[in-house]
């Protein structure tokens, strides 16, 4: 009798415990890796990756945090992993923003640094040929275009004027106008669209009095992206005409 009195509530507690456990299991699901947080962080890192050279310490810190998050997942500390992954995502986004702001300057600095390290660089790419004047390339700017458009974007007008000044100063230098598109749409149609962009720039320059014989055009369509990402900012950096000076 005494035993029963004591055991009763105890057994009730146990049942309660088990049932609340089951409820929890069904309400909250099984404890599992914070996959979404990890994915988000990875995506943010990927977005920042092609700019990692210009993203400074934050990018590396974000990378480290994501790694730590993965270690915690293996240790089954899912809360900790989620916190780390979220922090990694935030840092990666900041890194990307920072890189975007400093992109042009940083690229030129990097290029000059590379040249200083290696005074006689190997030919950059087969396509630019042996006549490619790498030094002068740094003084010319790339023009950007809107989606599906062959009109130079308004924020590229200054760059275009700078290039015109360069063309007038360096009267003996031929230039290849290289047209590019983003990866959306059809490869073959984009080949024509890239050419159309380059052709439009060439015609504009001829109207300004630049000798057309100095200006040749070449389209790479979507085949030679400047940025490999899938974001709108990557796409907009790929819709471009590059000025490639020849010796």
């Amino acid at each position: 009798m005494k035993y029963n009195i004591n055991a009763g509530p105890h057994r009730n507690n146990l049942v309660l415990l088990m049932s609340s456990l089951l409820i929890l299991v069904f309400m909250a699901g099984c404890p599992k890796a914070p996959q979404k947080a990890l994915d988000d962080a990875e995506r943010a890192l990927l977005d920042a990756q092609d700019k990692s050279d210009c993203a400074g310490e934050k990018y590396r810190a974000a990378e480290k945090l994501l790694e730590e998050a993965r270690v915690l997942v293996e240790k089954k500390d899912y809360d900790g992993a989620e916190r780390k992954a979220r922090a990694a995502e935030k840092l990666a986004l900041e890194a990307r923003e920072y890189a975007d702001l400093n992109w042009e300057d940083c690229q030129r600095r990097l290029e000059l640094a590379r040249q200083a390290q290696n005074p006689k660089p190997a030919p950059v790419e087969e396509s630019t040929g042996s006549d490619y004047d790498e030094e002068e390339q740094l003084r010319l700017s790339t023009l950007y275009f809107g989606y599906d458009s062959s009109e130079v974007a308004s924020d590229s007008r200054n760059a275009l004027e700078e290039n015109v000044r360069w063309l007038r100063t360096n009267k003996d230098k031929p230039v290849v106008l290289e047209g590019h598109t983003d990866e959306r749409g059809t490869a073959e149609y984009n080949l024509s669209l890239g050419e159309k962009r380059a052709r439009g720039v060439r015609q504009y320059l001829i109207q300004l009095g630049i000798d057309g014989d100095r200006l040749s055009i070449l389209s790479y369509g979507e085949e030679k992206p400047a940025a490999y990402g899938q974001t709108e900012s990557d796409f907009s950096r790929n819709r471009r005409v590059e000025f490639i000076p020849q010796k």
Binding site: L16, L17, S19, S20, L21, L22, I23, L24, V25, A28, C30, P31, K75, K76, D77, Y78, D79, G80, E126, S127, T128, G129, D148, R184, G185, T186, A187, E188, Y189, L191, S192, L193, E195, K196, A198, R199, S216, I217, L218, S219, Y220, G221, E223, K224
Partner: protein
């Protein structure tokens, strides 16, 4: 209620302690085990409903005639009835044929699964051991195969004959308990010929059930980006196997097509997008006019290409397939004209033109006459591929959400949708028998990969399970 909440609160405290996590995981596994059967059921239901929602077309290809006697239909989507086939492991008596046996059973299962007519039954669902069962009718317990739901049974074995392999491939009708006579004869093959022979057998199985032979073993060409940002041209079987690299240069190579034993492609190896041809094991330049030389499409002795003639403007021309000389200019418009694709009888050409603003699908005669617009919906329609039956042209279109999907249009302009809600789907190419379309898709978030679907869009299968960067597939005709 109050006590219950207290219990939950207690559990939450325990929950937050990571050391107890493993205990919870164990309990979860237990729970999962108990409820697994109902879960499987639920998954099956979502799968079939997903299939049904992904289908949106009025294509009316007749389903294969169901085998007589047994009424087991595995429905995928609205119309297609899949015939259940059992394909037990390929038997191999000796150690040195084991690898080939695995290759045979995998090729059988993969191609029969891709064919779009069969449901290959999972081997772990057999309640008996098929490995001990012989090849001949007297050795086969047809009641067992009937009980697992099979209507067809494919038995296979491999043995060595000298240096070669002898494949024994048989199809049995389970309800009759008898072998089916197929238009197929096996003969000893070297290991390199194993896939071709299995393909031939599967093509005969397809012919038995549908009246029209299959085309497994036919190949496509495609371009793939490498880690250096370059692109090379490859070919492979329509089931994604037997790949071979065609270009091996240090340049960007794009837009391959193949017909009449030649592979045409555009390459930047000389600094300009030139048209190259790979024929009799040799690469040579076919058209290297300044500007665009691309998208060669061959039909009999004719070759249509896009040329921009010094970068002036992209138009479509016929050139001589041997020396690249221009035979005829087919389009002459200030807008972009590109991507010519022949009708099966070589009398008409579908192409893409930007003359109305964005790219749209047009058709014209083989001489460039009677140019007319075929697609009027959407602002970006491109990548035409003419079906071998001649009745429709597949193309990719950008929809109102800026996603690309694959559609067909008939010569009256009627549109059918083949893909929907699955990432971006582009670059369709028809199989020589018109049954399938191979295309690129970025669904699954793993970059561009090649997929194969039945030409009604009902069944869609991933072809390239490794890597990404697969683009511009074109079926070899």
């Amino acid at each position: 209620m109050h006590v219950l909440l207290q219990g939950v609160f207690m559990m939450m405290q325990i929950f937050s302690n990571s050391r107890v996590s493993s205990l919870l995981v164990a309990i979860c596994l237990l729970a999962a085990g108990v409820f697994s059967s109902s879960l499987v059921l639920a998954q099956d239901q979502t799968k079939s409903s997903a299939n049904q929602t992904s289908v949106n077309n009025g294509f009316t290809e007749p389903a294969p005639p169901p085998a007589s006697g047994i009424e087991i239909d595995v429905r995928v989507g609205a119309r297609r009835v899949l015939l259940p086939l059992a394909v037990p492991d390929t038997q191999s008596a000796a150690e040195d044929t084991k690898k080939v046996a695995t290759q045979v059973q995998e090729t059988l299962r993969r191609t029969l699964d891709f064919a779009g007519y069969f449901k290959v039954l999972p081997t772990d669902g057999f309640f008996f051991d098929p490995s001990t069962e012989g090849m001949s009718p007297a050795d086969i317990n047809f009641q067992n195969w009937f009980n697992v739901g099979a209507q067809g049974l494919i038995k296979s074995s491999v043995r060595k004959q000298g240096d070669q392999f002898l494949l024994d491939l048989r199809l049995y009708a389970v309800d009759k308990g008898q072998p089916v006579t197929l238009k197929y004869t096996g003969k000893p093959v070297a290991s390199a010929g194993v896939d071709a022979q299995v393909n031939d057998f599967v093509n005969a199985v397809i012919e038995h059930y549908t009246g029209q032979r299959g085309v497994f073993g036919s190949r496509i060409v495609y371009a793939q980006r490498d880690s250096n940002g370059l692109k090379q041209i490859f070919s492979m079987n329509m089931d994604g196997t037997n790949r071979s690299q065609i270009t091996k240069n240090r340049a960007i190579n794009i837009l391959p097509s193949a017909s009449g034993g030649a592979v045409f492609y555009t390459s930047y190896q000389d600094g300009n997008p030139d048209l190259w041809v790979y024929r009799d094991g040799k690469h040579s330049k076919l058209s290297s006019r300044r500007g665009q030389n691309s998208g060669a499409a061959g039909c009999k002795d004719k070759l249509a290409v896009t040329l921009s003639m010094g970068g002036e403007n992209a138009d479509i021309y016929l050139i001589d397939a041997k020396d690249g000389k221009i035979e005829r200019r087919l389009t002459d418009h200030w807008a972009i004209d590109t991507s010519p694709r022949w009708s099966p009888d070589c009398s008409q050409i579908a192409f893409v033109s930007g003359r109305s603003g964005g790219p749209q699908i047009y058709v014209m005669s083989a001489e460039g006459a009677d140019q007319r617009r075929l697609t009027h919906q959407g602002s970006y329609n491109s990548n035409p591929s003419w079906s071998p039956k001649g009745d429709v042209i597949a193309f990719s279109a950008r929809d109102q959400f800026n996603h690309f999907d694959i559609f067909t249009v008939d010569l009256q302009g009627n549109i059918e949708r083949l893909t929907q809600d699955q990432g971006n789907n582009e670059e369709p190419t028809f199989s020589p028998d018109g049954r399938y379309v191979i295309f690129t898709s970025d669904r699954g978030g793993k970059g561009k990969r090649l997929w194969l679907m039945t030409s009604d869009g009902e069944i869609q299968k991933l072809l390239t399970t490794d890597g990404a960067g697969f683009t511009e597939p074109s079926w070899i005709h």
